[in-house]
């Protein structure tokens, strides 16, 4: 029996001690009408070996050679040590550190993580993680609404330059609490939030505004201006940031006159594999004043009864297991293991290493764009400064081109037609530090050939 240690004699001895004849008897409180007879749809058990073969075959099918996809999930080099350590049984198979004395390992890791996130975002306090970037944004908005009690509208400005899937998630999660999302248009030329559109809301009751850096097009926003606007109009500013970019870019805690109130984002770039979209982790940090509105776990440093330093979950009274329906959120299980990996990643990279990664991302994308600019009919759509993504316009169908490319083992980028039909045949490309100059050249040649092939067809 896979994973069950009982021998026949164990089972018999245990039944005897319980005082029943057989295991079925233990289920005798279940009304008999509900007893189920077999499970159709579950195949026969496989041995680990059989499954190894199956999974190897399937994963081999999905293996690609070269990818230029980003749009919220980024390919980075993950140092070998990260997962060799994070998957140690003591991290991997533990749970939330409810018994602090038996969980100092995990607790100290989280405390270190909180410090690193606070430092990256330039704010005071970070929680111990949320599910992913999109749900972290939803929680940040709920938090902002709780904080900004001056405002009664529950209206939140979210630029159209925020990833559309994020906006969708925010909607799903916040809709039933009467929060209204107002989408701000972007400037067709720069790809940034339209500041004139923003001005239009200067005299309305707005609870919060989301400021993406960089935005879904890879473009840097005028974060100082927008943050200043928010301060001027008693709007709570929420930064939505890429943590690798923060190795290079000004942290949200320093935007505008004295920083945003809340920052959040997707932690995946910090050492988490792409893995089809998850598990990733959402990070969330804020000014100290708002810590009691923070959702999720929080680890604090304290001392034991002998005065030794130790760590424990703290401010649990905000959480569902204590405050129940009045909790700051319903979150319970979070993304602990990912936090462990990210903490190891940030430690290995250090401030210099992370900055260099960010610089390489920026430069590789710049170089990619210049390769692409050399192709007839291919143009960059926006003029705004970018970090590590860019929007290209193709002279032929993006979908057709991507199909051709993927037959050659290249994932050419993310098509924007369903999200931003107004942009025409637009393609979002991304090059991180993982791309060599040769890769850029190969992609350039492949794109040229694919365009030719499509236009000939």
């Amino acid at each position: 029996m896979p994973f069950i240690p009982h021998t026949e004699s164990d089972t018999q001895a245990m039944l005897r001690d319980i005082g029943v004849e057989n295991i079925e008897e233990l289920f005798d409180e279940i009304p008999s009408e509900f007893h189920c007879l077999g499970l159709k749809g579950i195949p026969k058990a496989l041995t680990e070996f059989q499954l190894a073969r199956l999974m190897r075959e399937r994963s081999a099918k999905d293996q690609i050679k070269l990818s230029f996809m980003g749009a919220g999930a980024y390919e980075h080099h993950i140092p070998a040590a990260v997962w060799e350590i994070a998957t140690r049984g003591e991290y991997y198979s533990a749970y939330t550190p409810y018994q602090a004395e038996a969980s100092q390992g995990t607790l100290q890791v989280i405390y270190e993580y909180q410090t690193m996130i606070a430092s990256l975002t330039g704010l005071d306090v970070s929680n111990a993680s949320l599910y992913d970037g999109a749900s972290a944004l939803a929680e940040a908005i709920l938090m902002a609404v709780r904080i900004n009690r001056k405002s009664r509208s529950k209206r939140v400005l979210i630029p159209k330059t925020v990833h559309p899937f994020y906006v969708d998630v925010v909607g799903s999660i916040t809709r039933n609490q009467g929060i209204k999302i107002v989408q701000l248009p972007y400037d067709n030329e720069t790809g940034q939030v339209s500041l004139s559109a923003l001005d239009a809301y200067s005299h309305e009751d707005i609870t919060a505004i989301v400021i993406p850096q960089t935005n879904v097009f890879g473009v840097l926003e005028e974060v100082h201006t927008i943050t200043q606007w928010a301060v001027d109009h008693d709007v709570l500013a929420i930064a939505l940031v890429n943590p690798v970019a923060l190795g290079l870019l000004k942290p949200p805690g320093e935007w505008g006159p004295d920083g945003v109130a809340i920052a959040c984002g997707e932690g995946q770039p910090l050492g988490i594999p792409l893995s089809s979209g998850g598990p990733y982790f959402g990070f969330l940090s804020c000014r100290e004043a708002f810590v009691r509105q923070l959702p999720g776990r929080l680890v604090g440093r304290t001392t034991d009864l002998e005065g030794t330093q130790g760590f424990t979950l703290t401010l649990q009274a905000r959480e569902q297991h204590i405050r129940r329906s009045r909790a700051t959120s319903n979150i319970c299980t979070n993304q602990g293991l990912m936090v462990t990996a990210a903490t190891i990643y940030m430690s290995l990279l250090g401030p210099r290493g992370l900055r260099r990664v960010a610089e390489h991302c920026h430069v590789k994308t710049r170089d990619l764009v210049s390769v692409m600019n050399g192709i007839d009919g291919v143009d960059e759509v926006f003029t705004g400064k970018r970090f590590h993504e860019a929007v290209l316009r193709l002279p032929v169908s993006v979908e057709a081109v991507l199909n051709v490319l993927s037959e050659w083992g290249i994932l050419g980028g993310v098509p924007l037609s369903s999200w931003y039909p107004e942009l025409g045949e637009a393609l979002l490309v991304c090059a991180t530090e993982t791309k060599s100059d040769d890769d850029l050249k190969i992609y350039g040649q492949a794109l040229r050939a694919a365009i030719d092939q499509v236009s000939e067809a």
């Binding site: 896979p2 001895a13 075959e57 996809m69 998630v169 799903s172 000004k250 462990t340 290493g353």
Partner: protein
Amino acid sequence: MEPLIFQLGKKGRTAGAHLLEGVGEMELPNNALRDKLPLLPEVSELDVVRHYTRLSQKNFSIDTHFYPLGSCTMKYNPRACNTFAMLAGFRDRHPLAPEMVSQGFMKCMFELQEMLKAVTGMSAVSLTPMAGAQGELAGVTMIRAYHLDHGDDTRTEIIVPDAAHGTNPATAKMCGCSVRELPTQPDGDVDLVALEALVGPKTAGIMLTNPSTLGVFERNIKAIQEIVHGAGGLLYYDGANLNAILGKVLPGDMGFDVIHINLHKTFSTPHGGGGPGSGAVGVGDTLKPYLPVPFIARQGSNYVWEDSSVHSKSIGRLSAFMGNAGVLLRAYVYMRLLGESGMSRVANYATLNANYLMEKLKSVGFDLAFPSRRASHEFVLTLKRQAKESGVTAMDFSKALLDEGFHAPTAYFPLLIPECLLIEPTETESKETLDQFIAAMAKILEETQRDPQAIKDAPVSTPVRRLDEVRAARQLNVRYSYQDHEGLGEIEDPRSL
């Protein structure tokens, strides 16, 4: 004491194998750039490896200790699940990769959807919720969507038993509902009379776990179902305890309209020191149109994504992509390793272990919260008597267990049982381990009489003694301050790395 990683650091130290070359000038506006480097550790690779290896050794975990944390189903996490989920083709797959180069992954996910339908008796499944609580959110949001869709905007009350997990009321609240608490009877079943009184035209639905978090099977489930459905409400099944009835009873058969499944419990994906989990949801026909997107459908021999463009009534997305895909892969592997016969075997042995432990603990002198009932896969002890007689609380007991080499059970939950321990051994622990645990419990019990102070002083063998929680909350210290550490974090001009 292991120092903080920051304290190991020194200005200018790096793990050089990860330091890329400089890139020269970049054309970015100065005001968009940092003028100080972030305060990350400046350490060597050996520092990192040694620090996090040593820290890991300070954890109890399934791989090192018996971990009978009730409601959490801390069973063995097969290593193969991790190995296969980390195969390069899966690990490196971009979430938006085209379907034509994703069929391997999508086939696994489709089959997982089908298997989850089979074990829940539901007619459709969405894998996207990222933990139990998000599954609850999905479920209650669907319930609300259903009522609204049927023109009923008054149904905003969710009934929740007093024994329920905190996520249930918190979720109801997040979905804009108010919570009506349903009392429990002394025998552990819910109070049907009270339920009758609670339901009405405002009832959106009820959230139930069955077996409940009290470790007993709710025998009146049929009546409950009839009352709630009769009043126009829907039934939500909190699947955290599915391990107890896997392959024995289908929530769908019991009349539930929606369920979330804690894959990190029943299907043994690792809890990871706090996550990740997965809270896939299943629904009956009633709620099918509202399922969160995306999910995977089959078209001929191909697997395709379906989202709101097809499912216009969907409550939408809950995660940027499709949830915790890597966790789902692990659950998939686990289910395939168990196969059909393995499913009910899980429930059989989880239940056997729990009842054995319950009987034995009773026989060595512990009080059961529900002495007349069978245990499900877990059960509740109450130490009320001991607390009264010797002042030794459930907390003290928990700490003393750590010294015996066991992780403590869940303490003080469910809230309605004073000084309680919720004990869940799971099916993967052997009789020998249970017997050792029983011996340890008996020893502590005996010591509460002989030397209660010794128990109150526990733990003594852990890396730290009991921690000052009040101080933690009052003198809030949730990050390292670089002022503690001279010289670090003082890299002035990042442009001159």
